[in-house]
Subunit: 287 residues, 4 copies
């Protein structure tokens, strides 16, 4: 990733095609926690409309100040996630065509967020009904309970995904790379520079999203997905794709199961209690 700026207590990072100041902020902290998940709105006035809507819903929210960005509205969702919305951010140079900056897997852009939530159905409804996300794929139990879901705004498979589990917790953040070989190179690089233990899962192909993926843990234990090969979802009549919870190919098209840690480990939000999931359906894990 590109280091846009480093201040006394934070590092601001962006990816190669990004023209805004940062898409990741790492702050020095006693504990490895998530402070907030950020979303850019389409227009400045959307922030005010959102505040009114959240106030009407009784959803806790407040204006906060954030370095290098404009007005920022922080909200705590009914299930406890901390989200932040902004429109304006300082600009940075696009490095997409400054190829000397390509290193490692050369992440091209921030792609999506995946969170554990203890109540997928309610969280899903909040994102779709109140924030305007659209469903693309989902996993359901045999009783048609939603166990996990993928929702988008930008026209890909997802900007936000939800997984059943102790929550709210961050499951992973994902960056998009143009090529599966970039991911293979990252495996080689991590494996020979002292980070072999940080490779958690993959590389492989997800059934859901069709993504070629790799999951790694950063030195703080936050999970990062390196991600490519999804598809467009811009059609307004796009019909969401249902996957059965018992179908192992939804996880990995090629059949290999995810490790247990992938279903259990996540990053907590700072100061937010974690709840047991209301849905008891178990994921499919290898023996």
């Amino acid at each position: 990733m590109i280091e846009t700026e480093t201040t006394k207590d934070a590092v601001y990072l962006r990816c190669l095609e990004e023209r805004q100041h940062h898409s990741f902020v790492l702050e020095q902290s006693a504990e490895a926690v998530v402070k907030a998940l950020g979303f850019k709105v389409a227009f400045e006035k959307d922030l005010d409309a959102l505040k009114t809507h959240l106030d009407n819903l009784g959803v806790e929210n407040t204006w906060v100040k954030r370095y290098a960005q404009g007005r920022t509205l922080q909200a705590k969702t009914p299930q406890g996630m901390i989200l932040e919305f902004y429109f304006a951010m300082d600009k940075a140079e696009r490095l997409l065509q400054k190829y000397a900056n390509y290193h490692g897997c050369a992440p091209q852009r921030f792609d999506h967020i995946n969170c554990f939530t203890h109540n997928v159905q309610d969280t899903y409804e909040f994102f779709v009904r109140d924030l305007g996300f659209r469903l693309t794929e989902y996993t359901a139990t045999e009783q048609e309970e939603i166990w996990a879901c993928w929702m988008h705004r930008k026209g890909g498979v997802h900007d936000m995904a939800l997984t059943n589990g102790k929550g709210p917790r961050l499951h992973h953040l994902a960056v998009w790379v143009p090529n599966a070989l970039d991911i293979i190179h990252l495996c080689d690089l991590m494996a020979t520079t002292g980070y072999v233990e940080n490779i958690e899962r993959g590389p492989g192909r997800h059934g859901i999203s069709n993504a070629f993926f790799l999951y790694v843990l950063d030195p703080d234990g936050h999970r990062i997905e390196i991600y490519t090969s999804d598809y467009l979802t811009v059609d307004t009549d796009f019909e969401p794709i249902r996957w059965d919870l018992l179908d192992p190919q939804r996880q990995t098209l090629w059949g290999a199961p995810a490790p247990l840690s992938w279903f259990e480990h996540g990053s907590v939000f700072e100061g937010i209690a974690v709840n047991e999931p209301v849905l008891e359906a178990k994921p499919i894990v290898a023996p």
Copy 2:
């Protein structure tokens, strides 16, 4: 490409991730011409709003019937292009994850259209002001006249591009593939199955759009681009990128010039007269 259906006088084709009946229609005809360029609108009611807007503008338009699709509004732009707008189309199976259907360069989706127009400025204004397209990149002369432009609706670099030249004519249609190696395989395949003469330009990297490209001519002489590696443009505050007409890297980042045919050859619209360009700026071509 996938053959969805073949009728007595037409072949309906789609790409691997597409879930609608067709994105290309080939009709038997005495001459190799373009009948219309199609666009899907977001909602059914947009068709009526568009009709009203075009009527108000005095832009010629009419409802037409099209196989396997709903209400379709045909319009002739002020510069003479024939466009068709629809919302509903019959559904077809998505073959993205039926990998036995991957052949050749395995086109994943229709990506964009590029047309010659004799008046880039006016055509550009019609697309942006009246149809709601957004500018992403453009080529300008030293006098800041727009010589070519790239405009989008779906969040990529372009759905529609315009090039200065005798027009209106179709310059090319483009399909998106996930990987540069798919394009290299297509070169190998065409070169060894009797189509080596149909490889017109590339493979290479465009400066504009950053796309890795190949241009081929189909047996009727219509130009097809095989295209990958562009970037997202969903931010509403995206600032269009200007390229100087004299910068050869806008065409090919690696420096190789396009052949003369690439600036001269195009497909006419059926029954539409072709006009000399109002802007005399010449492209940069190798000696």
Copy 3:
């Protein structure tokens, strides 16, 4: 693979760059067994020299007739493997540049054989001392006992590898492909055409050989490796590379362990008894 010829009871296959009649023969049989492993010698007269050498050693051998190939010497190694040596074979067209024949992972050439043997040290010595193979890499226990070894004639990492285990048995045959993406495509293809259960291990990177690999089981249960990314070993002063049996990265550079089946499952030679390994060292397997 390319089907050169099919007779009443056998199918003869070759890979894309191969100019001889076959590199694989599948014969109809009541049981899924290995009949013989074939090696091409450099010159016709080497067959006679080899016969004399084997006779002197007291190694069982005999001339056999094989379809589409010249004089063939069959030998049973002291550890019970059935090997066949030939020089001449009928020619077939090289399809390397007939790209219309590229399907699936497009195997370009047969690469190597890997066998279980109950006595790695003795088998290794037979291949190196009596057949002229050269050691490239090997796994040793802490007591410096050879647990597995890789040996070559053609200048790559191996034509023949040996693994400690119940033997003699064939562990796998390997075909070489030019690109890791060919292997990924094969995973996608198998996973969506009913062969997901036949993907046994990978894709991944071996520490030993540096190969990017995939192991699949054919419908008879014979294991096939799809293999790329090794290196040249033509220097006569090449120093073999030692790997510690306790180093998990020798198996998979990225850390993921091989499944238990990979250490246990193999194909027996027709009519040859299988022996317990003399070396008790256990491989490293995941819990």
Copy 4:
């Protein structure tokens, strides 16, 4: 490339899989010339046998001292090329699996040399008859005169190729990379770091050798090929492949002609006169 060592007036370079001290030496010099082309022999005693053979032939030769390597025999071929032969060289660490050293196109090994010679037939005969090279592919005129040839020792398409032209001159040196995408990345990198003018030809696919290639000029004007995708030639009954001089696909399978500079520009050997070619056949060049 990896910088093994830099002395007062020379830089010693090797590629990622190479375990010897250097495969390229750059010496400071007033003029950009070639001092010698080096070859490693299989055994130390081969040097003495070679000296005797060259003395018998009346080919000028002498022992020379070279940094970091053992006894070295320098010879001037009948057509004026300066060759050097050695067996022993200091060892260096193999970096194939130290992926942090992968930069740019990550050249994995030195692959081959290509020289202009004014007399292809005689030079070809010297290499095959006196040095033991084997022919793999060749270009012939309609009168069956050899116009260019590819010869190997290590089991690939070539270690040494000869092209008709003013000679002796070095046409290019080639490094092997595992993947076409490494070559595409190098194009992107050179195009955006001030070296766009140094990209001379490609990327493309050669008909001859099937290689995916790129030709660049280093800052001294020496031509370097980046090369992948050839095939094995270890069979002793390998039949050389003939290409017609009039077949444009021998140069580029995809049809694009090489630029004129590619037929004209080369590097002279220090102090060696350049002769006009005896064969007048002209290459095929675009109009």
